[in-house]
Symmetry: C2
Subunit: 215 residues, 2 copies
């Protein structure tokens, strides 16, 4: 699938500045798996610490998957979970550094970086992760997974859908429900996506001046 051709709305202003959370979707709308993968591909252009890409996705887009999602979310999130086209659980991968050498070796083989730059990366950053404590790995992968989630929300709008990020679910059961190693994968967010069936709440923000210091 060509990236640009599947984009319905190519405006930054429309996609980012006018995004709102939608919690009621048209229940009969299906999103093809090819397009869901395209949305994830666009989302994963987000940066990550040392390009570790410490994220993992579980997509619930059929009856069986939706039932699992329903069993995990809190009741106040039933409306979006039960009407969306798909709900994507985004998890942080605390062991992404185990395949770290692969991505940089490939970049080197492709001529994007020199062997010296690759070795510098390995020597500078790899020990930080290999010797890191769990708190460090959880924080890093939570940040990566949050950033890719933000871009997924925007990709949804660019493709003509709306979305809702939600945190109200039984985090302790996510990994085991989906057959994932619960030590390795930390739940960060779930995102319901579909065609809107409501006008969302026009939420407000604090004045940024009240949240900003100049050093």
């Amino acid at each position: 699938m060509d990236t640009v051709n599947s984009i319905k709305n190519d405006s930054y202003t429309e996609v980012m500045l006018k995004r709102q959370s939608v919690r009621q979707f048209q229940p009969d709308v299906k999103i093809p798996r090819e397009e869901l993968m395209e949305l994830l591909k666009e989302a994963t252009t987000s940066p990550s610490a040392c390009n570790l890409q410490s994220w993992h996705f579980v997509v619930c887009d059929d009856e069986a998957g939706k039932q699992k999602a329903h069993s995990l979310v809190m009741p106040f999130n039933f409306p979006q979970t039960d009407t969306c086209s798909a709900i994507v659980f985004v998890l942080g991968d605390t062991q992404s550094h185990e395949k770290y050498r692969d991505v940089w070796n490939k970049m080197c083989a492709d001529g994007r970086i020199t062997p010296e730059k690759r070795d510098e990366v390995f020597q500078t950053f790899l020990p930080l992760y290999e010797h890191a404590d769990r708190e460090f790995l959880v924080k890093d992968s939570t940040i990566d997974a949050s950033m890719v989630s933000m871009q997924f929300l925007l990709a949804a709008r660019a493709h003509g859908y709306e979305a809702n990020p939600l945190a109200g679910y039984n985090a302790a059961k996510i990994a085991t429900t989906f057959g994932l190693d619960e030590k390795r994968y930390v739940p960060v967010m779930a995102i319901a996506i579909g065609k809107p069936a409501e006008k969302p709440i026009d939420s407000i923000r604090y004045d940024v001046a009240d949240l900003t210091d100049f050093a």
Copy 2:
């Protein structure tokens, strides 16, 4: 300042899908504070758990601020810190719920939601935060701060700048260096912004199919 008029590049494809991290900036470029605030305003259209907006910004854009930033980052981040127009430290606010009633009362006063909806929000979510342990509050504010950071990176490009998110800094000294309560504010990321002086590394991503399960 009108939001749309200051945007130089209004394409989702250009802004999001072609973003790369830039680590060398043109050192003489200044970004007006009005525009930095506009960038932050655009970034804060990001969602947050219960709309708590658990983020806080410290902007270093003059000699004194840049020196503080330099004293905090690790040496491998000196190039972008020392050449950028500004570096923004993004922190999570673990006590954002203390002003939680204000934002929903204002939405109610503005007629955006009913008093019943406001009271439902207060009764459902406020106790979760008022009785939350520190780990919960840190995680929630880290996610919020990461999402707003992602949007700041995109806002930078929309305004004709480039940026680099960085995690290599002395996290334990951030709050005290900037006179902030270190219990309340948790460092999440720093972002250098400016006009690029290099062609960035053309980094690669894993195939999303390898990172995605269908439930």
